[in-house]
């Protein structure tokens, strides 16, 4: 599966915000923590606000808070705000649509279907619980 940068940044940002919905987090804080482009992340944050997953906080410090539904929103929901999931294998337009091409398309469909199901059954809450478990077992801060 090809996941574009905006989707990945959006997943990171949404999970960071959702891990503590009471806290305002700035673009700079997230960008610094993960070593990603502030400029690129700022665009992503605006998009998250537009789609109701984040709220721009006014006043001192500014930043963003989470405004989605942690129990209902899945990883796929977030990704689809930024892209249509591309196929794991890019199939060029071919002159012949014979049995071989059909079989290859079936295989690609099988892989794509599994990818979609995995992403569509992991809610933000589940991802955060799992991240927390991993941080407890490794005794490190989530996200590091």
């Amino acid at each position: 599966m090809k996941l574009n940068k905006a989707s990945l940044f959006a997943l990171i940002a949404v999970l960071e915000l959702a891990s503590d919905p009471t806290k305002q987090v700035s673009t700079n804080e997230i960008a610094e923590k993960y070593g990603i482009s502030t400029h690129h992340l700022a665009k992503v944050m605006r998009n998250l606000v537009y789609h109701g997953l984040a709220q721009a906080a006014r006043g001192v410090g500014g930043g963003y808070t989470f405004s989605g539904n942690i129990k209902r929103t899945t990883l796929l929901d977030v990704i689809q705000k930024f892209e249509n999931l591309e196929s794991v294998i890019e199939m060029p337009k071919l002159a012949v649509e014979g049995p071989i091409v059909i079989e290859l398309k079936n295989v690609i469909h099988e892989i794509d279907n599994l990818t979609r199901v995995v992403l569509d059954t992991i809610t933000l809450e589940t991802a955060l619980k799992s991240a927390m478990q991993q941080s407890l077992s490794k005794s490190v801060t989530p996200g590091t």
Partner: protein, 174 residues
Amino acid sequence: MDYPGMLLHGAQQQGGKERADMDSRIVIRHAEEKDLETVIKIDAAVSIDLYGTVVDKVAYWQGIFDYFVRRIKEKRYFLVAELDREVVGFIVGEARAWEFGSPLCGWVFAVEVYPGTRTMGIGQQMFREICQRLRKTGVSTVRTMVDIDNKVTLSFYRSQGMRTGRNIEMEMQI
């Protein structure tokens, strides 16, 4: 799964007292003969909720009761959940060795909660309980299989910490 409030904070985390109140209303116990009818009703209600249709599975559930409830129950678990003394859910599983070539592990065959009582932590309590009982038999892994379109159940198992496992289910039309 209980975690410190570092992640899943504040309003997103179910309040401790609220959770405890709910937990005190739920009782998990072994299924008994008298529960068969209710199990069939819950299964039908879940089927309508998920697929919009009901298939007659009375014979199937009678067979499952025969194997898990009426016979020797060693390493076999058919648990029901009571909410305020009314059965609203069930979970079925057992510890088996060499099923599909897999060493001793726990298999959960079914978990169902009456649609009107979902999101109350009933499925979670039943799953925890069956995992505890399976662990006592020497099992360290629990497995299950779920229809690819059954997002409710897939999401539930994931929320309990399950991930795609080592076995791939395969099929063909014959």
